[in-house]
């Protein structure tokens, strides 16, 4: 597995592994193997969905993220929280308190993605009208879905919408704004995203659509939660704070359905959970869904509220979100013409096009590949077909494939051990 050109936001701590094989079985792209008691994964196949981190009881997979200390070197710090952060606290904690708490732990400013989300909803509606020849257009919001398409569904890459994610655009605008306002260099400003999942860290470290992200680092929601909780309690007990009402609940795209709502429910189909997303992508490839305009696809069930870094149960988070929307929400106040004018001058677009990912099978000879496949089928026919995973591969089929590639030995199959 010498394909180390792909960045992934998790490390493997081999010593913790008890060989339960939950990761092997749960990986949606069948990238993980436990051969010779060692957990390995195909770097090119991994789409950073976080299933392995979720499933492993021993925490063998450790997400790599930044801490506050790592990000102290900047002169001005901007926190860019995913709106998932606000709904971790519940309706009794107003968004203004969370923002103040972020400032108390050392951030100079707090930026929100909600405004760009609302704008992009309009921009995307306009984009759909401009490009009737591509149907359906698939959201490029979830980094895992983008990578899944790059790896397993490369023919659907042209279906990805070319609009950059709100966090990148917000980060870019905030960076430029404060650099100008404070007379600082752009790289003296640190924009730190507060992320619900490791996939977004990967998309910051190795963006699919640009050379360098506008965000400098990412801290998990749960780490920030632990840091600001004492501050939140302090502020709550300290009574009123100035212009608390100024801050409303920024409804963004973290939850399944919000994006569709921005684009228009009548035009969008929402799907979440990586297996379900794969099913829909399969249907798109067979041209089954040509009558749908837009697909909102998220790798985590329910959307980002189910990210690995969330504190609250996704159902509780959803409940909180609905309540907060009611209490602190405000209807978006955006001039449509302005958004369309910005769309026309390329304000929202990806800086570079997303391309299919080069995997281990990209440069192959069809003849050789058919030979290998026949070999695989011959081996597969002799296996038990129980998909027990005890060999270290997820299914008998993947094991047969590994054997045909010379990456596994047939004697690793327990049904052949004497």
């Amino acid at each position: 597995m010498d394909n180390s050109t792909f960045y992934h936001a998790h490390l493997i701590v081999q010593e913790r592994c008890k060989g339960r094989l939950k990761c092997v079985r749960s990986c949606p792209t069948k990238a993980i193997r436990v051969y010779e008691n060692k957990v390995t994964f195909f770097q090119d196949l991994c789409v950073d969905c976080g299933e392995c981190i979720h499933m492993c009881p021993e925490k063998v997979f450790v997400p790599v993220s930044e801490t506050m200390e790592d990000l102290k070197s900047f002169k001005f710090h901007i926190a860019l929280p995913s709106n998932i952060l606000y709904i971790q606290f519940g309706v009794t904690v107003p968004p203004g308190v969370v923002r103040q708490a972020l400032k108390n732990i050392g951030f100079n400013e707090v930026a929100d993605v909600a405004k760009v989300c609302d704008e992009e909803g309009i921009a995307l509606r306009y984009h759909l009208e401009q490009h009737p020849q591509i149907r359906p257009i698939i959201s490029s919001f979830c980094p895992t879905v983008v990578r899944l398409i790059q790896v397993l569904y490369p023919s659907l890459v042209p279906h990805l919408d070319p609009l950059d994610v709100p966090r990148e655009i917000t980060a870019r605008e905030a960076r430029l704004h404060y650099a100008k306002k404070l007379g600082l260099k752009e790289d003296e400003i640190g924009v730190i995203y507060i992320t619900p999942c490791p996939a977004k860290i990967v998309s910051i470290k190795q963006p699919a659509e640009k050379k360098r992200s506008w965000i400098d680092g990412a801290i998990p929601v749960k780490d920030i939660y632990n840091l600001i909780l004492p501050e939140v309690i302090k502020i709550q007990q300290g009574g009123k704070i100035a212009d608390l009402d100024k801050f409303y609940y920024p409804k963004a795209w973290g939850m399944l359905g919000h994006f569709s709502q921005n684009v228009g429910y009548d035009r969008a189909l929402s799907v979440a959970g990586i297996d379900h997303v794969k099913r829909i992508l399969n249907d798109i490839e067979s041209n089954k869904l040509h009558y749908v305009d837009f697909i909102e696809a998220m790798a985590c069930l329910h959307g980002c509220t189910n990210g690995v870094f969330c504190v609250r149960d996704p159902y509780v988070a959803r409940h909180n979100s609905i309540q907060m929307q009611e209490k602190y929400g405000r209807p978006p106040n955006i001039a449509e013409e302005k958004v369309i004018e910005k769309y026309r001058r390329g304000f929202y677009f990806h800086e570079e096009p997303v391309l299919p990912r080069t995997t281990r099978d990209s440069e192959i000879d069809i003849g050789e590949s058919i030979k290998r496949m026949k070999k695989k089928e011959r081996i597969f026919a002799k296996l038990s077909g129980k998909d027990c995973s005890l060999c270290g591969a997820p299914t008998c089929e993947t094991f047969a494939d590994d054997c045909a590639r010379g990456e596994a030995e047939i004697t690793d199959c327990v049904f052949f051990k004497k």
């Binding site: 299919p356 099978d361 590949s369 496949m373 070999k375 011959r378 010379g406 030995e409 047939i410």
Partner: protein, 273 residues
Amino acid sequence: MQDSEGFNLEIGQIKEALKADVLVCRDRLKSKVSGIYASDLMSDVLAYGREGACLLTGLNTVQAVISSHMADLKAIVFLRGKKPGPDIRKFAEEKGIVVLTTKADMFDACIKIARADGHLRPTNGIMMRGKEKNITSHEFFVDGKDFASAGLVSTGIKTILKEIGYNMQLIRRVAISTYEGEMNVVMHAEKATVTLTASDSEIRVVINDKGKGIPDIQEAMVPGFSTATEEQRAMGFGAGMGLPNMKKNSDEINVTSEVGKGTKLEMRFFIKD
């Protein structure tokens, strides 16, 4: 030396050439082998051993027999006088693999067999591997009126083609055409078999159904022509674009039909560089 057309030795003749002893499956000496594969590396045997061949190896472990069984080899010759233990013999006997043992080493054994087969020519290397045809074939079944599982076959075919690694746009064309064909079966026929044949020069999908047949194929090819029922249309099918879509997406399409019996639809997709 796995030239299936040129190779013409029985296991018994190999035994003679190597002055070998037969340990297991003495009753199979009349059986012909498709070639010889000599290696101590079992992953190579799995990867390159030809079906029906005879393995020459110095690896005296059960892995040799398991790998041979996996690769569908007919016989194993253990070299340099190695004699396999009872567990190996038992496994080979169960799987019907002939086991021989000889005093010759690997190089020696190869030459002796090559001489016996008349392969040894001064100007020609003896370890020529014959050309294996690179074709793979798969069969699927579709049930008529089963709207819930419509699309499973095209998804299955797509998975295989992706695994082989064809151009993505080509795979997409095959998937779309197969899905349309599958839908036609679901809507109009009782059942069908779908055969996928894939090689390095073309992909071929044949859908052979049992059903009412098409009375006028010319007419059926016209975009918009449809015999779908109101119910089917209500479900979003039957726009009369099935056959035209298949024609558009395939490089060659061939439809033959017999009214009251069924329809055979053959689609070919050529692989261009």
